[in-house]
Symmetry: C2
Subunit: 118 residues, 2 copies
């Protein structure tokens, strides 16, 4: 495997599995590439809500906009350059505000494989 640069311009956004809201993911590195990590970008439209059981260790870095993440640890609110770490097994509700949000994410192991095998 070689060093790779990843950019938003390379991201092909798709709807998150099992939902039809304005929430999109774009894996750029994942199980197809032979490493243990998935890397991608996420996009949330305005005022969206995503309820999810987190099936892998999931690191979300906010690049633009703001998101809130509610769990049994309470609610955190994250803006640009802030990171929300969602460990495997937690139940979360992620909400965007009027301005929507753009994120980068890194997961270990690969989230799509974990979702598919549920």
């Amino acid at each position: 495997m070689k060093v790779q640069k990843l950019t938003l311009a390379d991201a092909k956004f798709e709807r998150s599995p099992g939902q039809d809201d304005d929430i999109f993911t774009a894996n750029l590195v994942d199980e197809r590439h032979g490493g243990p990590i998935t890397i991608g970008y996420g996009k949330f439209g305005p005022n969206q809500t995503l309820d999810a059981k987190i099936v892998v260790h999931d690191v979300m870095i906010v690049l633009e906009g703001r998101l809130s993440v509610s769990s049994d640890a309470g609610t955190v609110d994250a803006g640009p350059s802030e990171i929300v770490y969602m460990p495997k097994g937690v139940q979360v509700t992620i909400r965007s505000y009027e301005g929507g949000a753009t994120t980068a994410y890194v997961t270990n192991p690969h989230w799509r494989e974990a979702e598919d095998s549920r």
Copy 2:
């Protein structure tokens, strides 16, 4: 483990191991927390150069400024919201420009344990 928000304000920056340049790292989640992922922030002063053998899978998200990363795959240049994925085993030279740079990083497994056991 619970959902955690991480911010630059929480980061306690230290010099990278084995070098005395103006390059600093701050782990916020790592081997002390029981998961498989290290998460932190990095800071590069102006015009710094770091030569490193990458001992873990290392994802670097540029938050501010610009960096170049040279390897046997060539040289890539990354600015805000761009990501450089450095797979385990690659040899890289990371350079900052006049404005320095701030990054977020995610590694699997934990980079500090891997460095310590070299």
